[in-house]
């Protein structure tokens, strides 16, 4: 096991003349629940997509469990579980079949797979719906199944890109509990979110990014204390100059 779960060094990503991330450096430790916050277009998803090997950086480097995202993408994919911002799933499969398919991609042993789906579905409140076709799911159910698809391989590092968007409060609470349990199991979780109360509630540390630049990093309580405000949302407002609603 490498020293840090994730090491990002001077990472830059440009799309033609647009700089999505500039000179970003982060060190995320094992077992840490780390939030990446920022307005739309700040570079959160770009960072996650470099870490999950979908994008290649223009400059700098990133390693996940010691595997370089450019030179050893296969090694990275072995240790991560990715919950994308837009939940991608096969509509003609049941929730269970979608999750099992992802498990098969990670070569999770067949005898473990079904049992694990059952246990995880119970934990996230999907046990009554898991055998239904995905096309009949509500938005909240789709997001929960998407989360299980990401975590069925029991990854060391989970990359969750806005996993609770458009969820009702009950579903969101169920997902929060699930994320807390991941942390309790010692997993490293990278969480991007627009919900400041979610970050404050869950994250050990957060990084606030704006216009591709890292503008603040620390634990929610440290940041609140440092900026002498009431909560993380006010820290965000103070640093980015944008209200959360504008940011979203």
């Amino acid at each position: 096991m490498s020293e840090s779960a994730i090491t990002i060094t001077n990472l830059t990503k440009r799309f033609d003349d647009i700089t999505a991330i500039e000179n970003l450096s982060l060190e995320i430790g094992w077992g840490e629940l780390f939030g990446i916050l920022g307005p739309n277009g700040a570079g959160k998803s770009t960072t996650v997509n470099i870490l999950n090997t979908l994008l290649k950086p223009t400059d700098g480097s990133a390693t996940v469990d010691g595997h370089d995202v450019v030179y050893d993408p296969e090694g990275v994919r072995e240790v991560i579980g990715v919950c994308p911002q837009e939940p991608a799933f096969y509509r003609f499969l049941t929730g269970e079949e979608n999750i099992i398919l992802m498990g098969e991609m990670h070569l999770v042993p067949s005898d473990v797979l079904k049992e694990r789906v059952k246990t995880m579905a119970e934990k996230i409140g999907m046990e009554d719906h898991i055998k239904r076709r995905s096309k009949d799911y509500s938005g909240g159910m789709i997001r929960r199944v998407s989360m299980l698809m990401a975590l069925i391989n029991n990854p060391k590092i989970a990359l969750l890109d806005e996993p609770t968007v458009a969820m009702d409060p009950n579903s969101r609470r169920a997902v929060w509990d699930f994320i807390r349990e991941l942390k309790a199991q010692g997993k490293t979780v990278i969480l991007t979110t627009h919900y400041m109360e979610e970050a404050q509630e869950l994250c050990d540390r957060v990084a606030i990014i704006d216009n591709g630049l890292l503008i603040e990093i620390g634990s929610p309580s440290e940041l609140v204390e440092k900026h002498k405000v009431k909560n993380l949302e006010e820290v965000f407002l103070k640093l980015t100059g944008k209200k959360l609603r504008e940011a979203v």
Partner: protein, 386 residues
């Protein structure tokens, strides 16, 4: 590359075929439907039944003293079993029925028909003593079969009327030997079309592949798979294997449906197995064209349209449509043509398995299939998958 991943992705693709109504229709129900529809329309039922023609008859000599001859001619037309005769009382209604497609032919027996026959029998060796008359025969020009088959058959019935069965046994110094096309009269149009149905059914896989790839790309499924240890090779192989399996199912369905409506290919088990093999190889062509269509398409809807660029020429120049001249030349560049040619050689002509042309056809389809698949995979990976 990992076998378990390939199997899981293949299983996923096959589940789609049975669960998505549009895919199920196009890949499974459509081949059965088209076999039944074309089989029924083109004489497949009870394959081997002789074709019959609806013929209108206006007998203008029915009331003359020599009417027996014209009546005997009409009786013989009916007795031939090739013609179903319908009596008409005037010229206009007969022509109208022919124009509207109710008849394949319209025959007008002239006044004086009986007198002509009688004058012949009065002086069989003196043509100058005969009273000549002409039977008018109108044939539906829209039916190639009617144009070529009806005139000689009517002439044969006329000869039988004038000379009786002896007409067939008149000894001549020159005679035609036995025809080589044994039982050719028992073939229906369906027998000529059936071999083309195998390629026809498989051609539409191109559209499904194109739609699948664009949907999986647009909905982020390809990206999601890319974040797992599954490789592009796992995915592409699973896609190809899925459609190869579907091609085999299609051949089985077309064969079974054809059998149900009476089609009996003039080949044995080996010939039938060959049909499976060449269609299996042809599925590579369909997947290749599907990938190329997906590469240049921005959405599933446009992929459907683009795929028809590849589907249409194959449908019209490589299956059961009659070709000639320039189209015959163009068809040499159409992969489905070789599938149809090989299956026709076996199923219609009853050629043995040692016939070189079927193996050449298989080699051509396989080489084109692998080439198109390679081109499709490279193009899609490079330009179409993101």
């Amino acid at each position: 590359m990992n076998l378990r991943r390939i199997l899981a992705l293949t299983k996923k693709e096959l589940k789609k075929t049975t669960r998505e109504p549009a895919v199920l229709f196009l890949l499974i129900i459509f081949p059965i439907m088209i076999t039944f529809v074309f089989g029924l329309a083109f004489g497949g039922i009870g394959g081997g039944t002789a074709t019959s023609f609806d013929v209108g008859v206006l007998n203008l000599d029915a009331t003359s003293p020599q009417a027996d001859w014209s009546l005997a001619f009409v009786d013989n037309l009916t007795a031939s079993e090739v013609f179903v005769t319908h009596a008409y009382s005037d010229n206009d209604s007969g022509h109208s029925a022919l124009i509207q497609g109710d008849l394949d032919a319209f025959i007008i027996i002239p006044e004086g028909f009986g007198d002509s026959v009688a004058s012949y029998y009065g002086s069989p060796l003196d043509p100058s003593a005969w009273t000549n008359s002409t039977i008018e025969l109108y044939v539906d020009s829209g039916s190639q079969m009617a144009v070529s088959a009806i005139p000689p058959l009517v002439k044969e019935v006329l000869m039988r009327t004038l000379f009786g069965n002896d007409a067939m046994t008149i000894i001549l110094p020159v005679e035609i030997g036995n025809l080589g096309l044994v039982e050719s009269s028992a073939l229906t149009q369906w027998d000529f079309m059936a071999p083309g149905i195998f390629a026809f059914a498989a051609i539409f896989m191109t559209m499904i592949v194109a739609q699948t790839m664009t949907v999986e790309r647009d909905e982020g499924l390809l990206k999601r798979l890319r974040t797992t240890p599954a490789s592009s090779a796992d995915y592409m192989i699973s896609q190809t294997v899925s459609y190869m399996i579907i091609a085999l199912v299609q051949v089985a369905l077309v064969l079974t449906s054809s059998f149900v409506i009476g089609y009996r290919p003039a080949t044995g088990i080996a010939g039938v197995a060959f049909a499976f093999v060449i269609t299996f190889a042809f599925s590579l062509v369909a997947v290749g064209f599907g990938l190329i269509s997906a590469t240049v398409s921005k959405s599933a809807e446009s992929a459907t349209g683009v795929s028809f660029v590849f589907i249409m020429p194959q449908m019209f120049l490589g299956t059961f449509m009659p070709l000639g001249g320039a189209t015959e030349m163009i068809s040499k560049f159409i992969p489905s043509k070789y599938v149809t040619e090989a299956i026709t050689t076996l199923f219609l002509r009853g050629a043995p398995m040692t016939t070189p042309v079927i193996w050449i056809d298989l080699a051509i389809v396989s080489v084109i299939g692998f080439l198109l698949l390679a081109i499709g995979v490279i193009l899609f990976e490079r330009y179409g998958s993101r």
